[in-house]
């Protein structure tokens, strides 16, 4: 009976699908929480400060050496932050447009979570492909979903009904338009090389032929910079710009609604890091040790490799934030429209020509 159930493809699909969703969601949220901690610690170290080093649950300090060490690294800070966000007063100003004000945070988080669904975070584990949804149009899906994220920010800016969020919202839409295009076009040349829109297939291509970042360095640079702009990270955090817009689109938000924006930002960052690993750094593959693993150990190893690469990229995101000053609004537009879009177009044409020449 049980055997029958397991071998039934529908049951299998539903069971494993649910399991994968739960695990990935859990891991992602942990990553988000700890990305915040890493960001705080790293920024503190870069700015000659100390960073969070006080939080510890009651009994932990009793552990001889480790307890103090963990406290010093701020390992428990994310938990304290989480509790704090839940306990804060959720304040809704009187002058906001309630409905939009309420749905905006959700609209920001959901796309970030949805993009993760198509990313192959490992090869195979016990015969199951390690991707939640193995879509044939993976890349198109990602771009479609990612662009939805901007609606959350624009809605938040507009519905807040006050000037700073409004400016933040406007900036965000302008920024998104300029960088979405460049980002999409940089990926076109990647797709030209691999000849497939399925992200899993793209990774397999790289496992066989080497990482795409070596074939398409220009596309990678454009994608990287656009990713910074898409995730509203410095040097392109114009919608937020604490120093001029008091926090931009989320100025009026508090408590869990604010936390959702915050989580959205970090989830976005992790999603685009994962995307970059998949598209340019060979996903779960290491150079010279390619092919999907048949064993459990190999499968786990592949997941580990993917996560390691992703963490490195997230660290790059974080480090850059404390390294570069914010771009001015017009510089941002200029960079997007007058530099990157032509460059990306040229890249596509050159790639196509080279590929055609190689074929004939």
């Amino acid at each position: 009976m049980l055997d029958q159930l397991i071998s039934d493809p529908t049951v299998r699909f539903v069971a494993f699908g649910t399991l994968k969703i739960l695990v990935v969601f859990g891991v992602l949220m942990t990553f988000v929480a700890y990305a915040v901690l890493v960001e705080r610690k790293l920024s503190a170290l870069i700015q000659d400060r100390v960073g969070p080093n006080r939080t510890a649950p009651p009994l932990v300090l009793k552990i001889p050496v480790l307890g103090k060490l963990l406290q010093g690294w701020g390992i428990f800070q994310p938990m304290a932050d989480g509790v704090k966000f839940f306990l804060k007063e959720d304040f809704t100003p009187d002058y906001v447009r309630k409905v939009y004000f309420w749905i905006a945070p959700a609209i920001t988080v959901i796309p970030a979570l949805l993009t993760i669904a198509v990313i192959p975070f490992g090869s195979r584990l016990g015969g199951e492909p390690m991707v939640i949804a193995d879509l044939n149009v993976g890349i198109l899906y990602t771009f479609g979903i990612v662009s939805l994220g901007v609606y959350g920010i624009v809605l938040a800016g507009w519905s807040s009904n006050s000037k700073y969020p409004f400016l933040g919202g406007i900036r965000s839409s302008a920024q998104m338009i300029s960088y979405e295009l460049a980002m999409g076009m940089s990926v076109v040349s990647v797709v030209l090389v691999t000849g497939d829109l399925n992200l899993g297939k793209i990774v397999e291509f790289q496992a066989a032929h080497g990482w795409l970042v070596f074939y398409q360095p220009l596309a990678f640079v454009i994608f990287l910079v656009s990713a910074f702009a898409e995730t509203n990270r410095l040097p392109f955090d114009l919608p937020e710009s604490e120093s001029e817009l008091v926090g931009g689109y989320h100025t009026e938000y508090s408590s869990m609604k604010f936390a959702l924006f915050f989580m959205g930002e970090y989830a976005n960052m992790i999603a685009s890091a994962a995307m970059m690993v998949t598209l340019f750094f060979g996903g779960w593959s290491l150079p010279f040790v390619g092919a999907p693993a048949g064993t459990w150990l190999g499968g786990l190893l592949h997941i580990g490799i993917f996560l390691a690469k992703m963490i490195v990229l997230v660290l790059v995101f974080i480090w850059v934030r404390w390294m570069l000053p914010r771009f001015r609004y017009d510089q941002l537009m200029d960079l997007g429209w007058r530099r990157f879009i032509p460059l990306a177009l040229a890249n596509i044409v050159v790639t196509a020509l080279v590929l055609a020449a190689l074929k004939s």
Binding site: L42, A44, L45, I46, Q47, D48, R49, V50, N53, W319, W322, M323, L324
Partner: protein
Amino acid sequence: MTKVVDRKPLTFYERTYLPTLLEGLKVTARHFMRSVKGGNAALQLGDGYYPEVPWQVAEGYRGAPYLVRDQDGNTKCVSCQLCEFVCPPKAIRITPPGADGVPADRPNAEKMPREFEINMLRCIFCGLCQEVCPEEAIFLQKHYSLTGLTREEMIYDKERLLQLGGVHAGIQKWKHKLEEAREQDTFPVKTD
């Protein structure tokens, strides 16, 4: 006379934004390495962090303003109310003794304040009271951690201000003011 500063156009290399990136990376990496090796200021100056190890304030620091006594333990303030007048956020409130109030507790002074209150919640630690006082009776001292549970608690009265302020070197009306004026260019400005 205006001086025109030449702005050289950026070279191509500079316009690629690469030198800025490298420079930024260098600076942040340097600070990062220094911090990792335990080089932050708190650890260098003391052997711990703030609440356990109090912070050492530098010379010339402007902390909370307190009233001081002279060498004989008398109130130096003569209730002239100049500080009350000059205080930008109106943190000081002085109740003068009035026509038949208590006389000053020191010779050569006509009066002293009946009550002298500084609201530390309003005070912005600007130092104008110290600067304007003709009697050297009020000084910004090095206290920086003022806490209280109620707003009333944060209004320091005369007793408290005098007690916290301590004793100051004698009555030297104008002497230090003159020195200070002469030493405008050198820092830190002498306070005693």
